[in-house]
Structures are given as C-alpha cells and as structure tokens.
C-alpha cells in the first residue's frame, strides 16, 4: 500500500513536471510575528528552499535530500541531521506551491513556524497528511524539523471579536466534555446516566456491506459499504454501556479535533463535534461523536442528542459534510 502510494505520488509528480517544470518549487511567506525583516527574509528563504528540495528529491526518486552547496548553509548541523533522519523514516513532499504562516518568536530568540503541510509517503492513509514544525535559530537557519501532532489552530481566531463571557462559556463546554470523557474511563455509569436527558436522541452509525448479488455490475464496481443508523433510547444505551463496562477491564477514550458550535438564537444550546478514539481491553475504534448539550442549568448541563459515526467507510474518510454537527438539527 505504501509503495503504491509512493509510486502513485511519484508518477503524478513526474506527470505534472512534464506539464509545468516549476511545480516542485514552493514559496514560503511569513505573514506575521517576526519584526526583524532580515530574519524574516532568511526564514522565508530557508523554508522555501527546504520545501522545494523535498519535492525535487521525490520527483528525482533520490534516497537523500540533496541541496546546492550554498543552500546547505540554510541549515544548522542539527537541522540538517534532523532532515536526514526524517527522510530516512519517510520520503516527504509539500503538496502546495505557496505556504503562508505566522512566525512564533520564542523567548530565546529562536522562531517556530507551524502548520506547514506535508505528505509523508511512507505513512498509512490516515497519517500521511501531516504538518511540519520548522524551528529556526536567530540567524534564520533551520535548526530543527518536527512533525506536529494535531495542531489546534488558535492563531486563526486570535483577532476575532469574541467576548470574555463567550470564551468562558465555551471553555465550560470543553470542561464538561472532558468530565464526560473521564466518566467513561472511570466506568462511572451513574455520572453518564445523570448527564443524559431522559428523552435524549441517541443515534449510532454502523458500516454494513451491501449485498453485491442485488446490485448491477456498475454498482458492484463502486462502493459496497454504507452506514446504517440505529436509534436507541437512553435506557437501551445505558444498558449496553453497562455490559460494555463489565466486559472491559480497561477503557481509554481519547477525544480530539473538538469543535464547539453555538446556536444562533438559543445561547444555552451548543453542539460539539469531535473525533473519538475508543481503546479498551477487547475492542478499539475511531469515529465522530456529536453531542448537543443544553446549558440552561449551568450547574447541571444535559446531553439531548448523541450521535456516533465511523470515521471511514468504503476505505475512505467520512466526508466532512456527512459528519453530524449542530447545523444538521432544526431547533
């Protein structure tokens, strides 16, 4: 699979090269965060050269990133070593021709640039799209390169006109969600029972195989999985959960990619969509969890809707517009 991915990417890259010989070139701009213009220019040059060199190396199919002699000076010794190490674990390329990011100046005068998109050719499909963190010294040389884990994009919202009261309320939602997660890990069925509204709407998606015999040839060659949704009552859900807690000595839920959406007219109704990683003694899965939370009673918020969807079917990630969010509910 990984080799196929590599070959496909390399073929595409070569194909593209024929159409546009400059497509391997990436231009990097620093948008904000660095007042020293010389340092800013140095960082832009170093990052542009690096990303372009990655693409050129993939296209040439070389086993090591080769730079022009003068471009080697854009790296510190550690930075160059780090690049070689990363390349040794996976060839990588930058999928866009222009990157614009903010610089983050650290206390010691070094600068970090985050969110640089990268495709790791040796990684599996779930993990091949990553973001690099580039660390520069005070001369603008690349000193370290890291793959960022799921970067929370605070910088995107820094300038938004959001009140402290709204910030407080939304952090209270995150707090509630963290308590909710903790309850599963503690197998605290009473807590979970208490936070669900008695008439909560609970929907669980399940990937099912379509009977191929009933399909015509065209359909057979396309998708053969679909998601079926099942509705259950709070009582049914809690009973299932009790069985699950009993059968698993260990449960570790991890929540990621949390998005909080407020209702436009009901400021006590919030929707939370997140990626749930369920790890337990007997079973593990990944899916999207949606919770509609009523904060009318701030001390005792309750969940009115809970949905779960698998994160992929037909071998592809669940399309973003199919993931449940507050937008899909009429309230």
């Amino acid at each position: 699979m990984r080799i196929q991915h590599f070959l496909l990417t390399a073929t595409l890259a070569l194909f593209t090269v024929a159409a546009n010989a400059q497509l391997d070139v990436v231009k990097f701009n620093v948008e904000d965060g660095i007042s020293d213009t010389k340092l800013k220019a140095g960082i832009e040059q170093s990052a542009s050269k690096l990303l372009s060199a990655l693409n050129a190396t993939v296209i040439a199919g070389k086993s090591k990133v080769k730079l022009e002699k003068e471009d080697e000076l854009l790296f510190t010794k550690d930075g160059r070593k780090c690049l070689d190490e990363m390349w040794a674990s996976s060839a990588m390329m930058c999928p866009v021709s222009q990157v614009t990011e903010k610089g983050i100046t650290l206390q010691n005068g070094t600068v970090q640039v985050r969110n640089v998109p990268i495709t790791l050719l040796a990684a599996d499909d779930d993990n091949c799209e990553q973001e690099l963190v580039l660390c520069f010294n005070s001369q603008g040389q690349i000193d370290n390169i890291m793959i960022a884990l799921e970067e929370h994009r605070y910088l995107d919202v820094i300038n938004a006109q959001i009140s402290v009261k709204d910030f407080h309320r939304r952090q209270a939602i995150i707090d509630f969600v963290e308590n909710f997660r903790t309850a599963y890990n503690r197998k605290d069925i009473d807590y979970i029972n208490n936070v669900f509204s008695d008439n909560a709407l609970i929907i669980t998606g399940k990937v099912v195989k379509i009977d191929k015999k009933r399909q015509d040839l065209t359909q057979q060659s396309l998708n053969n999985e679909q998601i079926q949704y099942q509705k259950s009552t709070k009582e049914e859900y809690i009973n299932n959960l009790k069985r699950c807690f009993k059968n698993n000595s260990y449960i570790n839920l991890v929540f990621d990619e949390i998005e909080v959406m407020r209702h436009p007219r009901r400021d006590d109704i919030f929707g939370v969509t997140l990626k749930q990683h369920w790890n337990s003694s007997n079973y593990s899965d990944v899916g999207y969890l949606f919770l509609m939370i009523n904060f009318e009673d701030e001390m005792n918020p309750c969940i009115q809707v809970r949905t779960w969807q698998p994160d992929k079917y037909n071998g592809k990630p669940l399309p973003r517009d199919e993931v449940f969010s507050l937008d899909m509910f009429s309230i």
Partner: protein, 378 residues
C-alpha cells in the same frame, strides 16, 4: 496483588476554611498506577522505593514513589538524578512510567500498538519502533544508557525529547502535550490533589509579573496599558494597567475591573492581598468538592509557582457588582484553570479582611480543540 494496599489516605482539609463539613477528600492510588502495579510480575513492591523485576528486565531498576500516603508513580529508572533535577520531572516520570508499560507488553507489535494509542512516537535513527532497523525496544535503551546529550522541547502540541549517544545515534521520543497523558491522574484524581495542594501551600504571590516593556498603549477609557500577549481572544490578555502619569493603576472606585486585573496579574501592591480571601466554588468532576475559602495570596502563589501564565479579562457588570476572569494556562501540559471573581468596588477599597466570591474550573484540556468558536448558521 491486593489492591487495598494502594487505597490508604483520607485527607481532611484543615489548612483552609472548609465551608462544608463534607469536604473530605479520599486519596487513592491513581487507577492507572494501580493497574500497572497489579500487572507487575514482582512479589514485593514497596510503596515507595526501588525494586527489581527480573521477568521484565534484568538490567533495569524499577521504582515507586508515594505522595499523599499512596503510591502515585511506578517507573523504570532510566535517567540519572542529575537529569531528573535538570529537566521537567513530569516529562521524565512519564517516560519512565511509559517504559514499564511497554515492558509489560510481550511483543514489539503490541508495544507499537500502545504507543499508537497514546499518540507517542519513539524514533531511533529516523525509524519508529517496529519499523526499519528499530525492531526491539532495548535498542533505544542503549542510547539512553550512553547519553551524550539530551534536550526537551516544549511549548507546542507535542513534546520532543531528543537524545544522542556517544556513538552519534539519535533517539526522539515525541509525546502529545496532553495533561491526561503526562500525569498518571485522571481529571477527578488531579482535581482532588490540586485542592489538597492549595490547602497546604505556604507560598504567597511572590513577584510582580509586569510585562517587560515600556511601550504604553492608550485605552479607550483614558488609561495606559503595557500590552502583552493575549490568550485565544483579543480581550483576554496579560496587560497591566497604568494611570495617565504612568503609575501602576490602583483606583477601585473609578476603575474597579482594571484594578482587579492588576491584582490578578500581580502588578498591584501585593500587600493588599493578605486581607483578601476567595470563597471558591469549584466546578469539579461530579461536583464532588464543596466550597472552600482561601487567602487570595496563597491561591495565586501556588499557581504562579506551578508555571502557569496568567491572562485576565472583564466578564461584565450587574449593577455595582463586577466580574473578572483569570485564565491560568500551563504552556507545557496544555491545560487551563479558569477563575471568575465577583466583587464590588467597596470590597476592593476595604482595608480590612474581605471575602470575594469566585468560581473555579480546573484542568480544561486545550490540546485537542480544533475550533472553539463556531456559530450555527441557521
């Protein structure tokens, strides 16, 4: 292994005023540590101290540590005392605890599976565990055992522990900067320990945290600020307010919120804080912990000592009553405590003892937020 031996302490909060007779916190060995202890193939594991466990490793020494009268750490002794002192002890302890969990797994594949669950990557010479030439966890131990350099990079969503040995081999351990992973406690267990630590804290707010700048910015209401950073939104900042003659502002009657925010930033005369108490309603897991009263100086001092960054903002007014927010962000472990304080200008002006009502939310994770501020369109 008898689990009861790890359930020991009952700690009564006596160091500060407890407003409810029910505020007794029962401290147990963290569930994660208890589970590890149960899995250890060793007969005698001390509550605190070193021990050997040949079935796991004949060369590594294992250890436990206790706090609050219970075992709250189990690790493999990988690093010297010098390293433990020089680097973040939470990160070092995490790696040593992780090592035990990995050794408890029989195969490299199942070790890699645990790392995947935790989101941790151990990368030796560019290869993650289980790929390329990195086939056995013990190969990483060879680097640790002959370290020539070590660095730990924090401050983002991922911690990078980078080691190089005397032969030039490199080892990276990439760890998600998540409180839940780095500490052995879940949220409830951590909240209980926080309340106890606050109760026993003797360190007062010890210095002013005035931003290092002389670039005054004039505000709409005629004050001057030295602007610092904001946290997530523009209106939550580490600003310090000054009067027009560029003295640190203290004018509760005309500028109650700004005066309070100067207190919360440690910029106001901290001598005033000794008479100010907070009556805190903690919004903890399951609302298990009742209200408590603590000297503001000690509350702030504890959090300052723990390395939190402080940001303040105005929530609003209800008549004469003002409300300010203090967001305390830990840049390494990526979580927030939030305190909202309610007060009147008269209370701030009072020279005697005064008690301000406050609400406290704790250990709010920040590493896993993708978008906090979405709005529904219809």
């Amino acid at each position: 292994m008898n689990r009861l031996r790890y359930i020991l302490a009952y700690v009564l909060l006596t160091s500060f005023s407890v407003l409810s007779a029910q505020n007794v916190i029962e401290i147990k060995t963290p569930e994660r540590i208890a589970r590890m202890l149960e899995s250890m193939p060793a007969n005698e594991i001390p509550q605190s101290g070193e021990f050997q466990c040949a079935p796991l490793s004949s060369t590594i020494m294992f250890y436990t540590e206790s706090r609050y009268g219970v075992t709250d750490q189990l690790g493999a002794r990988l690093f010297s005392d010098g390293i433990r002192k020089a680097y973040d002890p939470v990160i070092i302890s995490f790696v040593e605890r992780l090592w035990v969990e990995l050794l408890l797994r029989k195969t490299t594949a199942s070790q890699a599976s645990l790392l995947k669950e935790y989101g941790v990557r151990i990368v030796l010479g560019g290869y993650p565990l289980g790929s390329g030439s990195f086939t056995q966890l013990g190969q990483a131990l060879d680097v640790i055992n002959s370290l020539s350099s070590l660095s730990i990079t924090t401050g983002g969503n991922e911690i990078d522990m980078f080691m190089r040995d005397k032969t030039g081999s490199t080892l990276h351990i990439y760890i998600p900067a998540s409180r839940d992973l780095l500490f052995p406690y879940d949220k409830k267990e951590h909240e209980e320990r926080l309340i106890i630590d606050l109760a026993s804290n003797k360190t007062a707010f010890y210095k002013q945290t005035v931003p290092e700048s002389t670039d005054f910015i004039k505000t709409d209401n005629g004050l001057m600020v030295i602007g610092g950073e904001c946290y997530m939104i523009d209106s939550l900042r580490n600003d310090v307010f000054y009067s027009q003659d560029r003295h640190i502002l203290w004018d509760p009657k005309s500028y109650p919120e700004e005066s309070m925010r100067n207190i919360l930033m440690g910029a106001a005369n901290t001598g005033r804080l000794s008479g100010v108490f907070l009556e805190i309603m903690p919004h903890t897991y399951n609302r298990d912990i009742s209200k408590f009263r603590i000297q503001m100086n000690l509350f702030m001092g504890y959090l300052q000592q723990q390395g939190f960054r402080f940001y303040t903002g105005d929530i609003g007014r209800d008549g004469n009553r003002c409300q300010c927010l203090l967001a305390m962000y830990h840049p390494v472990y990526n979580y927030l405590h939030i305190l909202s304080v309610s007060f009147t200008p008269d209370q701030l002006e009072s020279t005697g003892e005064v008690t301000l009502k406050a609400d406290l939310s704790t250990f709010i994770p920040q590493h896993n937020i993708k978008n906090l501020f979405q709005e529904k369109n219809n």
